[in-house]
Amino acid sequence: MSSGTRATRAELGSEPGTTEVDASHGLELYRRMLLIRRFEERVYLVYLQGEIPGTLHQYQGQEAVAVGVCDVLRRTDWITSTHRPHGHALAKGVDLRAAMAELYGKATGCCGGKGGSMHLGDPSVGMLPAIAIVGGGNTVVTGLGLAFKLRRTDQVAVCFFGEGASNEGAFHEGLNFAAVQHLPIVFACENNLYGASTPFHLTSLVPDVAARAAAYGVRGEIVDGMDVLAVREAAGRAVADARAGAGPILLEFKTYRFAGHSRGDVRGYRSREEEAEWKGRDPIVRIRERLALTLEEGVLDETDAAVEAALNDAIEFARQSPLPRAEDALTDAYATVISREAAR
């Protein structure tokens, strides 16, 4: 199931090919992962300052999954996301300013302030508003794949979900239906070991979500979710297969969220030793170290500075953006307005 031998072929500086990554491409993967990491860290600070309403589910630690998977997707491919969507949104190409403004609940946000943190998305880059019901995307994604199949396009849909969702009925129904219909879908499970505070081993006797693929007659594969190149390589093969009509594939990315489940989580349910062990596999640190061996001195620092500048700009943009008009709350429930109040 594992793809260890193939993953090594995808190391930096190896020969050009569809799954290989050269140094400038590697730098771009690093930049995107860092953007997500720093986005989450900056967002947390401004959240604590009271600038962002609601709650946050953050993505630190899992950046390699979103960036590695989305790197092999086209703009016309689609993703579904979860209650933890910031990384997916930035990786799929949602505008940084629009994403930040959405968290701030501003009119310039990618959903006009109606979505917020848990529903980030933008159809123009192929991302549905994130679905914050655990397992919610696992059935809806089949419709994306079905539409592509009926229209005979070669688009692919990727469904991001957590290991917790694999215990939902939706996981079963979505995967089974996608399998019998041979739909061009990659089910991308991010196994970060905990559903909120509950460890996966208390909720499933099967430790590997990928093993469940066999029950549906589809291919399952375990991938190191802390290595962006391994993610990219496995996702590249899965997406290519799906695009070629080989049907759905279940990828399980072993990963870890460095932050708590949501903004108030002090993580009392897991040991600091475990956290330290996973932080030792930080995907951003790993690729940065590898890139430092190949890139000219200063390039990485320049990239870091550029990411910081982009975030400063996005936060300033969000702060300065106008609030939505209160009356806009009453629009967009329907394509045709039918509300009594709105009609008056």
């Binding site: 123009s124 919610g136 809806v140 994306l144 239906f177 019998v180 329907y334 394509a335 045709t336």
Partner: protein, 348 residues
């Protein structure tokens, strides 16, 4: 020509099942984005859907557009929502409306909210057909769950009771850009239900020419001056039967089929209530939390000073449905119960 009434001379009469089939076929010919998806909808030698509505469609449109699925309501609804988000116009089928609870997340959290969450960038044009109503099938195959969905902003809710409106509304629903839940009563599909429907003729004039009937518009099925009766499905026909009976007592009922429950045609209903000063609401959905309560509240808000008597509701009693016919008919609104409520309303 009153829609649904006999044509002046001759004219084609269809059952609701035939009218629905014709609507689906026309829309599938008109727009290749329209497709059907559900269990047992197109299997060769199969049922053509739980009530035979789809018989023959797979022959014309093939199995790519008449898609048979596993018994998997969440997948059926989810596939419909996702395809609709991609610009297709799916018609998912769940066989019995009772099974709709299997996919409440897909309908309530996804279909109804995607347009809003995307700030109007996406829409979910789909029509979920749902057979409702008792037919001696008991607690899990006879419910009328319309009211759950009347409570969901983002959905539209239609209830059809005759072939003319069934066809015209289904065609409008398929072309509507919002998700529509389309409720039909099992006993009203065709001739088989005729006996249980009190021997009423369940066919209606359906023109050969293409037509649409708009979502959000009610029809007056019988004009009257004494009392307004708003009713759907079997309760509509039982209200019409009660109206005949009461006419002999000098009570002239104005019977309205709302057709769309969300959005409700307040204009037609309020105008009638202002004329008659009395309102009785009848539905097979249970009483508590039923859509009749919402209608009563709106009439109380807007027409209170036109009312000459308290509003009366006739609905299924607040119990699960039994199978034994004698008990079942005790639970659902009967002609006698509807007539009694109308008399009481007209006495005060």
């Amino acid at each position: 020509m009153t829609p649904g009434a006999p044509p002046a001379k001759g004219g084609r009469r269809l059952t609701i099942a035939e009218a629905l089939r014709e609507a689906i076929a026309e829309e599938m010919r008109h727009d290749e984005k329209v497709f059907l998806i559900g269990e047992d909808v197109g299997v060769p030698g199969g049922f053509g859907g739980a009530f035979g509505v789809y018989l023959g469609l797979a022959d014309e449109f093939g199995h790519e557009r008449i898609i048979d699925t596993p018994i998997s309501e969440k997948a059926i609804a989810g596939a419909a929502v996702g395809a609709a988000l991609m610009g297709m116009r799916p018609i998912p089928d769940l066989q019995y409306s009772d099974f709709i609870f299997e996919c409440m997340d897909e309908l309530v959290n996804q279909a109804a909210k995607m347009r809003y969450m995307s700030n109007g960038k996406l829409s979910v044009p789909m029509v979920l057909r749902c057979p409702v109503g008792t037919a001696n099938r008991g607690a899990q195959h006879g419910q009328s769950p319309e009211s759950y969905f009347v409570h969901v902003p983002g959905l539209k809710v239609v209830c059809v009771s005759d072939a003319y409106h069934a066809k015209g509304l289904l065609k409008s629903a398929v072309r509507d850009d919002d998700p529509v839940i389309f409720f039909e009563h099992k006993l009203l599909y065709g001739s088989k239900g005729r006996e249980q429907a009190g021997g009423m003729d369940l066919t209606a004039y359906v023109p050969e020419e293409e037509y649409f009937f708009p979502i959000g518009k009610a029809v007056v099925k019988r004009e009257g001056t004494s009392v307004t009766v708003v009713a759907t499905h079997m309760s509509l026909y039982r209200s019409l039967a009660a109206a005949e009976e009461l006419a002999r007592e000098g009570i002239e009922c104005e019977v309205i089929d709302p057709l769309t429950l969300l959005p409700l045609d307040e204009e037609t209903i309020f105008a009638s209530v202002r004329k008659t000063g009395r309102l009785v609401i009848a539905h097979e959905d249970t009483l508590t939390g039923g859509w009749g309560g919402e209608l009563a509240a709106r009439v109380a808000e807007e027409c209170l000073f036109s009312l000459e008597a308290p509003i009366r509701r006739v609905a299924s009693h607040d119990v699960p449905l039994p199978v034994a016919p004698v008990m079942e008919q005790t639970v659902v609104p009967s002609v006698a119960r509807i007539a009694a409520a109308i008399r009481r309303c007209c006495e005060s």
